[in-house]
Point group: C2
Chain length 465, copies 2
Amino acid sequence: MKHLVLSLCIFSSFLSCQSNTGAKPPVTNKTDVTTLKQLFDTALTDGQCYEWLEVLSNDIGGRLSGSPEAQQAVEWGASLMKTLNFDKVWLQPVMVPHWVRGEKESAYFIANKQRYPVPTCALGGSVATPENGVTAQVIEVQSLEEAETLGEKLRGKIVFFNRPFDERLIQTFKAYGGCVDQRYKGASIVGKYGAVGVIVRSMTHSIDDTPHTGSMTYAALEADEKIPAAAISTRAANLLSEQLREHPALTYHFKQHCKTLPDAPSFNVIGEITGTRFPNRFITVGGHLDSWDLGDGAHDDGAGVVQSIEVLRLLRRIGIQPRHSIRVVLFMNEENGLRGGKKYAEEATKNGEVHVAALESDAGGFTPRGFSFDANHKNKELFMSWKPLLAPYGLHDMGPGGSGADISPLKSEHISLFGYRPDSQRYFDYHHSVNDTFDKVNKRELALGAAAMASLVYLLDSYID
Amino acid sequence: MKHLVLSLCIFSSFLSCQSNTGAKPPVTNKTDVTTLKQLFDTALTDGQCYEWLEVLSNDIGGRLSGSPEAQQAVEWGASLMKTLNFDKVWLQPVMVPHWVRGEKESAYFIANKQRYPVPTCALGGSVATPENGVTAQVIEVQSLEEAETLGEKLRGKIVFFNRPFDERLIQTFKAYGGCVDQRYKGASIVGKYGAVGVIVRSMTHSIDDTPHTGSMTYAALEADEKIPAAAISTRAANLLSEQLREHPALTYHFKQHCKTLPDAPSFNVIGEITGTRFPNRFITVGGHLDSWDLGDGAHDDGAGVVQSIEVLRLLRRIGIQPRHSIRVVLFMNEENGLRGGKKYAEEATKNGEVHVAALESDAGGFTPRGFSFDANHKNKELFMSWKPLLAPYGLHDMGPGGSGADISPLKSEHISLFGYRPDSQRYFDYHHSVNDTFDKVNKRELALGAAAMASLVYLLDSYID
């Protein structure tokens, strides 16, 4: 095992430098410095992931689990990895939910005889409205708790969840985390009280005319309690709220023709570079291959998919022979089921595979900020000691936190789970909407992310047994 | 004077925290923590600079020195500051260069009888071509030095400077700095050897069809040695280079009708909140009001302009009574003359004003990364001690470096000069081109920048005498 790298004071005159653990004296490992530089140089001058993403986003497009596009993405991923000459490439079968949006979603409300059109989209997993839609009065609430309190007053009503993002949170995922219960659980709460529909303010900071879809649950509701659920644009949500104050009895109408079909066969796509010393110990890097259907899934999570493939290509390109087996996994069905992530962990257990670390990129292809990790105390110190190596690349955010949905089923006391953390400010402008398209991705930002991930995987391979 | 703040370990569980100077024990100043939080909260929930930028970019648009739009921008800036009730608002007269692009720029080359159109734009300050354009053979060079070496071989030729950005540099301004001599000095070098025109590869990483303009000089050339100079798109530059290898005698044609008019009267726009303790000691924050004419100047430097005004509004909004006088200066003519910056410094000297610090935002309205500074050793330690206060807002890059062109004439041994440093990855996709438009600015990224700048100004006001 290589010596622990604690400090790197020669790399940048701009950034200050000091030991971060205090526990051990600074050591400069020139091999690590050189290797990281090689990875970044190669990603920036000879990167391929931007061109791959263009194909995945523009030629294949949105690829919801069970769709023909998801199957095309599976074939594209396997075919690409084969051309890259990884040691092994295979498909791991998994059954996935199969929900389809249908056509002609629409909504409007009428207040004081005036009709206001509302940009709307069904939430993933929702039932359809009746053929002619649902028309009812609206009750606006700010939380699941408030809805529970109203109880029977919700009968016959459309419940409007309108708690906005907390703009003050610097990390936008925290703002999302503070609101998304409305989208995910809203219908399951109000369906039991006889509400006839749910509309949710879109999960975004941006005040615009674009609805953002996402997953939802009916939890334990009976079939006849399942009510249609939709997201509406933030501008429409503001207008509706305003009009409700003046005209509490206004009527809202929406129509959607989505449905859930029987589960469909699909696949995780897996590639591997076999380790020289610990071939049966694995470091996995991945993103999810499925996406919502409205946009092209460029940031969510096309970016994570192509970056993860690029990690293995970069390591090989600069001549790294990893000690552990390094796997790239393109997980199927993160968005509405997590079946791919669960299947991968299940198969790993069944096959007695030891996973020492896993990294997921599922926060967009934006400029790198760092990594968050879920690891035991001993490894935490090790990971924090890498900060000076990563700082010259703008990777300052290294600390405990979440990792990624797809790799979370791998969690055990022996594995370290990492989440790649790019800058989060723009993510929810695009997330789950028609705006998540290839033109929103910057080539350098995407490539820097791939290099950051390759650097982490290289360090993990070097310092963990 | 308040106590020095060295450390802040309570603020974020995500980010590691330690003293950065080693010289003094950690102290937590809760007032500073609270004030910075208030500044960021206010900017994010009640910010105004995005709406201001929309007016400056979309209603006024590109505003090259001497243009009617530049005058409109002056009036807009003064009027806005008056509505914000700063203690003083005034215009500082300054004469500026007045160059106009004219209409119908065009270019193409003919190789092997095929005609290739070339996206082109005159460089700012260039002379026109003759009415029917210039047509000549092309010599491609990679540097000023290579051009000098060729000497008399350049006679009668169009010289094509084609050294690309170094993609490996993480800070994109370094890549720009490594190339821009071709654009700025190219004509002044080859004009003396009888070249008939200069074309320069656009200053951008992006391979696309957009030419990027910018300033140039003829230095000491005689009138008859001044030759027309243009930028061409990177894709056209690659194609031309490729065709030159096959067809070294191909002919290139370009036409432009730009001219330099007599200097025009214009203004710096200045607003002030007068200090309670040191009214005659100044901290200045600014950006430049002029922009190139091709886009709307949203990132360069509309962002810096509106952020600088927002700094004063935020300080006042949360009830700060600054000890020093805080000035916002909207500098005129950064792009092609720096007359505003020079005039401001000249007037400051003439009036015996003591400037203790100045901050410029002229690197785009992107997500915050930090500040670079040019200061004496004692103050360096002080500034570095603020890192833990700034880190929770993603402001990790705090260190010695450049500041800003407009404030550089203020340099003396007593002043600390700062440059606001947002993330630089996307900047040169837009810089000086038709792509620099309002839709490329993210509201939160812009607001976070304003809050970062207000935080720095607050700390400077609190800790410097």
